[in-house]
């Protein structure tokens, strides 16, 4: 059980406090309810570029990192299609420094041309390092527009085109900040060994006077139900053929998210998963096979990905895979298998919750989904899962007409 308190400042900032006396550290986590899905189709990659600019100085502080490091702290951030998250990890007795820095960049950025120019280049190098200069690196750039026709999930967080980053101008940056970076659109979670008597006063001191702004309404194009199987084949200079089956599934708040997560573990998480045993070990068709979900807040994807063994063709794999999926849709899993998956989830959760930063980020994510206390409820949701639920999920999700398939042909 993770204990926490929650309240709102007058300006609309949601605050979560999670006290832990056993650590010498504190974490200040700030989540903004904006991600790549909120971007304009001709200015993609912007939420992520903006995340970089948040380290380029704020209205009263020239050098964010320097001030934080002086206090023994460190910081990082990540952007997804759904959200943007920033955190500082700092010795607990210097927590005020993190509040000062993080609140100042919520108040306003410095908006220097130099920072924009440099971070455009850094992000372009990140684009190359992660997506262009890696074997199979551009898979998500290809798979998203195949699986999504209308919803902005059709582009990756990094952006769909380097040119969008290259062309970003200062006015775009300022508009983006004004619209999304305000207390009403943020969740602040403070955890660790802070002074419980003083923390609320400190938060009020640094955040209370920031104008609240208006939480932007999110009106995203609705992704129409997929009715036909989609397939795309691309050639790449890679040593092995690879496949990516992507099935549409429910949004994050739906029970389907948990069922999809559970089923993906059962068929493709590790060596004892069903597809690993049947397609890899027994039939030798693949050198690796995995299943996982994207966990997106709007309609997500259930993926089965892998690489073909030398000498095996896509057709053979496809037939064997559908045979297995159809078998799952008929019989599901044994009681033993369901229990062992539940046990593994419990162990994994217990380990994840050791980390103060993990707890801090999770509380914020659950709050974004509607209630921070979701962190304390998810294990029970998994534990309630029965074979009939899995059958139902599999029967309604693992359908050919609900599938987008990307194949990568190796160079001969």
């Amino acid at each position: 059980m993770i204990e926490f308190d929650k309240y709102k400042l007058d300006n609309g900032l949601t605050v979560i406090l999670h006290y832990d006396a056993t650590t010498p550290m504190a974490v200040v986590n700030t989540l903004y309810d904006v991600g790549a899905r909120d971007e304009n189709e001709d200015k993609t990659g912007f939420a992520h570029l903006f995340e970089h600019l948040m380290f380029g100085g704020s209205v009263n502080v020239e050098d964010f990192d320097k001030e934080l490091q002086k206090a023994g702290g460190e910081s990082n951030a990540f952007t997804s299609n759904d959200l943007t998250n920033y955190y500082e990890i700092i010795p607990a007795n210097n927590i005020e420094t993190a509040l000062w820095l993080e609140s100042d960049r919520m108040l306003s950025l410095a908006f220097t041309e130099k920072s924009l120019e440099v971070q455009r280049n850094v992000v372009i190098e990140e684009f190359k390092q992660r997506y262009l200069n890696q074997p199979y690196g551009d898979v998500w750039l290809e798979l998203r527009p195949l699986a999504y026709e209308k919803h902005p999930y059709k582009w990756a967080t990094i952006g769909k085109d380097i040119a969008h980053i290259e062309n970003a101008v200062m006015q775009d940056v300022k508009d983006f900040f004004k619209k999304y970076y305000c207390p009403a659109n943020a969740i602040l979670c403070i955890s660790g060994n802070f002074d419980s008597e003083k923390i609320e006063g400190l938060i009020e001191k640094y955040y209370g006077s920031i104008p609240g702004g208006i939480k932007p309404a999110r009106l995203l194009p609705f992704e129409p139900e997929q009715k036909n199987f989609r397939e795309r084949i691309i050639d790449r200079d890679v040593p092995a053929d690879a496949f990516y089956y992507a099935f549409k599934m429910s949004e994050r708040k739906n029970i389907g998210y948990y069922l999809g997560d559970f089923l993906s573990d059962a068929i493709g998480k590790d060596q004892s998963s069903l597809l690993n045993i049947s397609l890899k070990k027994e039939q030798g068709l693949v050198s690796e096979i995995n299943a996982f979900i994207t966990g997106s807040h709007d309609h997500g994807l259930f993926l089965i990905t892998g690489k073909l063994s030398e000498g095996i063709d896509f057709k053979t794999l496809d037939e064997a895979l559908w045979e297995k999926l159809n078998e799952i849709k008929k019989i599901g899993f044994s009681e033993r298998k369901l229990n062992s998956l539940k046990n593994k989830l419990s162990t994994a959760k217990a380990f994840q919750e050791q980390g103060l930063l993990n707890r801090s980020i999770s509380l914020s994510l659950f709050e974004l989904l509607g209630d921070a206390n979701g962190i304390n409820e998810e294990i029970e949701i998994y534990n309630q899962i029965e074979n009939k639920d899995i059958l139902h999920f599999a029967q309604s999700t693992l359908l050919k007409e609900n599938c987008s398939l990307l194949k990568i042909n190796k160079s001969k």
Binding site: T22, V123, P135, S340, A348, Q354
Partner: protein
Amino acid sequence: MNRRNAPKTRKIGAISFIAPEILQLNNQAKLLWMADVPNETARIDLYFDAGLRQGKNAVVSITSSMLLSGTKEIGSTEIHSKLDDLGAFFDIGLSHEGVMVSLYALKKNMLEAFKILFESIQNANFPEQEFNEIQAEKIQNFKINMTRVSVLAQRSFQQHIYHKSPYAELSEEIDLETTRRSDLINFHHEHYKKGVFKIAIVGALQEQQIAAIKALVTPHCITNELSFHTAFCNKAGSFHIEKKDAVQTAIRIGRTLFNKKHDDFLDISILSTVLGDYFGSRLMKNIREDKGYTYGIGTAIAETGGSGYFLIGSEVGSEHLKATLIEIKKEMNLLQSEKISQEELQLVKNHLLGQLLKMSDGPYAMMDLFLSVESYQMTSDFYNAYIQRIHDVNPEVLMEIAQKYLNWDEMSVISAG
């Protein structure tokens, strides 16, 4: 409140480093136990003297991947299913110095899970079919890895840093192909049957559970002292590996140094931090935050059982390779010719103390800190000395250390792209 003024910062107080209880398994091998864990989790790290330095890379590596692939009595799927039933999971790490198998479970399941794991490893018989499968997988992974500039640079770096020593060996596709099942069986017999040199347990297990683990492991411990290669000397100079059409070029620059037993270890660690081991470091400020040539650049001091080395690593836009190397050289020269300012040094000191505080947060972190000194027959005193050194070190010392160890001409400079 004036937002331009930073809040007062406070010094990081003393850190009390907690050492695990240490039990001798025989005259060589040890069991370390960190019992004070305020939750249900437990971890066991099992160390075998079966690292890359003990044989041909391909054989050593395939053997470590197959430790849980079956015994005479029970197949790999059943081993994994049994561990799954207990909600346990594991990972296997391989280095030149050894193989570490880590097992994670809730404490109520740990003893049972450990028995399954340990007996499976000890009785591994490397079934033919599993072997063929893993061999094919390794070959495919090898081919994929060889398309990465970071891997090409790292391999070349390894050859240059461990020049003319057994550590310089690299495995090629042909080595993976020609490895035979019998090679694994022999290697396993030599290096696992009596190969345990350390076991580290974190978790509030019961005394009799620890005793049971001890009894299980002791017959399989090493009886001779561990020995490590110590005489390394890197091959200096610039070396480029061409990869057509790469949009980024990987850079690895470094030289042979030493491990934490050496008197200059703390000072070079602090100097390495100044140069490239935190977000505000000189290389990050220059190459990333000023020039935008890269997504990231960093330095590290890596240690081996008997030695160590200094490393700079980055991936830069291919058109920026030359300019990046010039800037790196400039930054190294600057550390040799100009004393670091008190302000910058103070910042680095605070940063290092903050990192150390974070690295000592909780029983798992404390165990990991202890393990990284115990390998060198040192104790937690090392960290107290480190804190003292962070307080004491001054700009003059760091300049001397830079002059001693950061000479561009002594570096192996590798690029791939």
